[in-house]
Symmetry: D2
Subunit: 178 residues, 4 copies
């Protein structure tokens, strides 16, 4: 395990600095559920990353990352999609800043449905349709596009950590699919 | 004024039939604010139709129309966009059925902010980014794409009837622009 | 089975009239998930009705009903809550008309997740906290308040028809509980 | 001007510490529009604070404050309402974590509609009906409840800083009033 695997923004600070900040303040995040859509707008596929977790396990994950200081939410969404899906993904950044849900990650399991051992993070969650070519980047081992029935039947949601499966389920509920 | 100008779906019923239905039930509608977006998702332009109103005045309007029986909301959005913007508009139908607002049109002015002399309509309002070529159809005289500052400065919103200007303002507020 | 069990608004029209309207137009509805909340706003309990369905089965149901002509959504929510939970329920009608989801009921199973053999209904769904005393009314056999864990564990959601269980699940997802 | 006027949470850190954090990370906030509602849920009045701004001007403001580390959004809403409206306000904390809008405050005017000379803040905005007794607290000079027509006619919205007037307008738009 290295720092990049844990937090690709970590390089902005010395490791001791970022971990101090994380003890002091909730960290603003964006959680992005990448989807393929039919021409009528219905979610047809969900994109899931396969990556090594902070604890060294292999897990499924959605696109997720910090909002940096002086960065807009739109920039943070675009940057994190590019970081995880590559520069040709052609994401359709949402028209409105209202997230479909907000996930509150706490270091202590049980304080909410979402846990992140590193920090208290407040994450605005968006569904982002992706029209272009995607490829796993950097620390991701794979990127799989799954149809919704396949996703629900496959057990992939159970391979997610920290509550990412709940974000995907809420995205599907918001999209009218479950 | 002819029936087509008043209600392009009127042809589904004899005129006496539809007006009787309108006295009996609220009529489900979709109101669509067509927009052009920047690559970061921000609304850059709003599309406004120029058409003859039911009373013969020339007015600006958004895309608006009934949901037909046995038609899904997604089909109603696509059909009404095509009816008003043409078959090459390439609308991005919303991922989620949750509208950004609901407009309740009543025949009697003052019962709400929205009036429709023909009927009590309950309209689900959506922002729909449009990527393709658009052209005014049928009963529309023109279709203008206006930048947001131009729209707010031009007085065009004051040329809208029944509360369509309020829907546009709520769309811009929802999109984070005003 | 009598008409009241099927549609408590049916009395507004002769039965032949309402069934004709239902073949002609989608019918606007409101679906209401009644909840008790903690002081921090979290949903603590969900209220479920026990009633005879249109087919004579005993089912669990949420509060659901038509929007009448010339009635506002706020009035429709208040009237339907009173119809099912009684006049002392003290519902907190939502501040905003934006529903948390929209359910499209079709007569033919499979066209959407929601079915209603009587009609094509378009239903705006709201979570409504209820602070007062509630009692089953008219055609309801019982009204049960269930804690969220109990609701999820009990199998009660499987006793719902037409997709009401999906509305409850979406309400819990929207409320941040699942 | 003292620190309390600028940031009532400042006391959690030495002043030099919080200003360093503010250069490093966006700060998570909640913006709360306190309202009185009619029994049908419509916003009848909006509560506005009168306070000294960071620059010593007298301004109108909504309830606004940081989310502290290890604090839930629900706790942050309740704490900030109590801080500004007093312990008897009886706020109805929202059932769902989805904010009606997100305001991004930047130190540099023009980067967005919202400015905060102290920091980059990301603020989740909620409408919070208040049923109890309210009184201005600590650093507030006054708390005024204004009817919506009065608010729009009075020029009070022009006495707000940093974009708080835009949050109030978006709240009224979301509530179906403008």
């Amino acid at each position: 395990m290295n720092n990049t695997a844990v937090d690709t923004e970590g390089a902005w600070f010395e490791p001791s600095r970022i971990s101090e900040l994380r003890r002091r303040l909730p960290i603003p995040y964006v959680d992005i559920v990448p989807v393929r859509t039919d021409t009528d707008g219905t979610i047809s596929q969900v994109g899931l990353l396969l990556r090594a977790s902070g604890t060294g396990r292999i897990v499924r994950a959605i696109v997720s990352g910090r909002v940096l200081v002086h960065e807009t939410l739109r920039e943070a969404i675009a940057r994190n999609v590019e970081k995880d899906l590559g520069p040709m993904a052609l994401p359709r950044i949402p028209v409105a800043p209202q997230p479909f849900t907000v996930a509150e990650y706490f270091p202590t399991p049980g304080q909410s449905l979402f846990t992140d051992p590193r920090q208290h993070a407040i994450s605005l969650a968006y569904i982002v349709p992706v029209d272009g070519e995607t490829a796993p980047q950097e620390d991701a081992l794979d990127l799989a596009w799954c149809s919704v029935p396949e996703l629900l039947a496959s057990g992939m949601l159970e391979e997610m950590e920290g509550g990412h499966d709940i974000i995907v389920r809420r995205a599907l509920a918001h999209g009218g699919l479950i």
